[in-house]
């Protein structure tokens, strides 16, 4: 099997600032006094290989490092130790609507947002109608986004990010978007991705969802991999630990 993502011996440290000194004045004043921060190892010694075409669920309690791991995969964060190797175009849904500019129209935002994901102008033009239909924004696409409702805003974000046709899709807890009908559409789109052999990595607290969608699961506990393998088995273990 080909590898989509390979992580080897990864450690990630955050600084927890007691009271962060941001300005020059503060830096000079408190230059001597150390221990303004504590090191916090958000991820410790993570090694895992994700094969192409698999759907992987990351589960674990709040603060266990799931989102951090996703950010490291998308190269928003860099590891302190170890390596992350990625093969293929990544699209990340870490937060819907990132990079959407309120003063521009829905259509202008589609161009802007799609280009952040490296889509060319022609590609966007071809997919424009699809995106508009999927987001159910036909009547509003040429009005400024600041007039949109929260739901419309989210739908626009999801529609653009998933139209990118990535080889690897990273999804962080964003499927709780919109009404039930739209949620179903999102899930359908993910299933379609899966069928086309794309790699998907999902962070979710909904164990039912992970059970339904994922082939394998990784259970993170306090920054370490507690267990990984076949989704049903790992979820079973996790459920047991929750009591």
């Amino acid at each position: 099997m080909e590898k989509a993502i390979e992580i080897a011996g990864l450690w990630k440290k955050f600084r927890l600032y007691r009271d962060k000194a941001v300005t020059l004045k503060e830096r000079l004043l408190f230059f001597k006094s150390r221990h303004r921060w504590e090191d916090f190892w958000a991820l410790q010694d993570i090694s895992l290989v994700i094969e192409k075409g698999l759907t992987v669920g990351l589960i674990g309690r709040n603060g266990s490092g799931k989102s951090t791991l996703l950010k490291l995969m998308s190269r928003i964060l860099y590891p302190n130790r170890g390596t992350v190797t990625v093969n293929g175009r990544i699209s990340s849904l870490l937060e819907l609507g990132a990079g959407i500019h309120p003063d521009f129209t829905g259509r202008e935002n589609i161009y802007l947002n799609a280009s952040i994901f490296q889509m060319g102008r022609r590609e966007v033009e071809q997919k424009m109608q699809d995106i508009i239909d999927f987001a159910e924004l036909a009547d509003f696409i040429d009005s400024p986004v600041r007039n949109y409702s929260t739901g419309m805003f989210m739908r626009l974000g999801f529609a653009v990010a998933t139209s990118v046709d990535p080889e690897i899709l990273l999804v962080d807890e964003v499927l709780a978007v919109g009404d039930t009908a739209f949620q179903k559409k999102c899930l359908d789109r993910m299933t379609e991705f899966k069928k086309r052999g794309k790699t998907i990595i999902i962070v979710s607290h909904s164990l039912e969802q992970v059970e339904k969608m994922c082939d394998t699961a990784v259970w993170l506990n306090q920054g370490r991999i507690q267990s990984m393998g076949e989704a049903g088995k790992v979820i079973g273990e996790y459920r047991k630990s929750l009591g």
Binding site: T23, L24, I76, Y78, A98, G99, S115
Partner: protein
């Protein structure tokens, strides 16, 4: 080198950001994009009135002498003051999506570059209006502009990255730019500077640029060879140092913002 390739792959994003920058600046104003031309035009009119009727200066065609140097200076200054905060103000993007972060400061510099080039549409007719002969030396303009672009981009990379860690830099930049303006022979000819300090002024990388622009537009002379060599060196030096510093600092942007 790989970073440059990645920036190239994100050219569509860059184009969109530059277009957004240019349009957002005039969004909602009645004259819209025409302000790109009105701004330098009115600047020129005001300077001409002030320096020919109120404060007479013993330099021939002083308002044009000033204008020729002021436009590239404004390109530099606006790029700096807007660029220094370009990473911080786009924190929502930096924290959520991967893209080469250089795209943000680069889009600021490019949009100001476009503005500068468009202001030539005011500069060239104005030169003719003041009966300053245009010569073929104008053809040197793209080359000088390219080196200035490298210089401005390099220094904006550095300040925008440092600003993530020391937010004071935004305010410091404003003050430094004011001092820098007077240390650059924009308002005055270089030969007016006493010999004792002229060496100091030549340490300022903006000086040879201003001199070159003045030569090719105002005096219609060939650009000085020494000046050209200096700006070539300055351009590439700042460009490479900027890229190296930025590449090192950008790794922690998402955490520090």
């Amino acid at each position: 080198m790989q970073r440059l390739l990645e920036i190239y792959q994100h050219r569509e994003m860059l184009i969109n950001l530059v277009a957004k920058e240019l349009r957002a600046r005039y969004k909602g104003s009645f004259f819209g994009f025409m302000w790109t031309f009105f701004n330098p035009l009115f600047m020129l009119i005001i300077y001409t009135v002030v320096f020919s009727y109120f404060m007479r200066i013993q330099v021939e065609n002083y308002s044009m002498f000033l204008f020729v140097a002021l436009l590239p200076w404004n390109f530099f200054q606006t790029s700096m003051t807007m660029g220094v905060s370009s990473i911080v103000t786009n924190s929502n993007l930096v924290k959520k999506i991967y893209f080469p972060r250089e795209v943000l400061p680069l889009s600021v510099v490019l949009s100001n570059l476009v503005n500068y080039v468009l202001s030539l549409a005011v500069l060239l007719p104005a030169l003719l209006f003041f009966k300053i002969e245009l010569s073929f030396n104008i053809l040197w303009f793209p080359l000088v502009l390219f080196f200035q672009f490298l210089f401005v981009y390099g220094i904006v990379l550095i300040v925008s990255a440092l600003n993530v860690y020391f937010r004071d830099l935004e305010h410091i930049t404003g003050i430094v730019m004011m001092a820098w303006f007077f240390l650059t022979p924009v308002l005055y000819p270089l030969k007016m500077v006493p010999a004792k300090v002229s060496g100091l002024i030549y340490l300022n990388p903006m000086t040879p640029f201003v001199e070159l622009y003045r030569n090719i537009f105002f005096y219609g002379k060939q650009p000085g060879l020494i000046d050209l060599k200096i700006v070539l060196l300055v351009g590439f030096l700042f460009f490479f140092v900027g890229e190296i510093v930025f590449a090192r600092l950008q790794r922690d942007f998402a955490e520090e913002i």
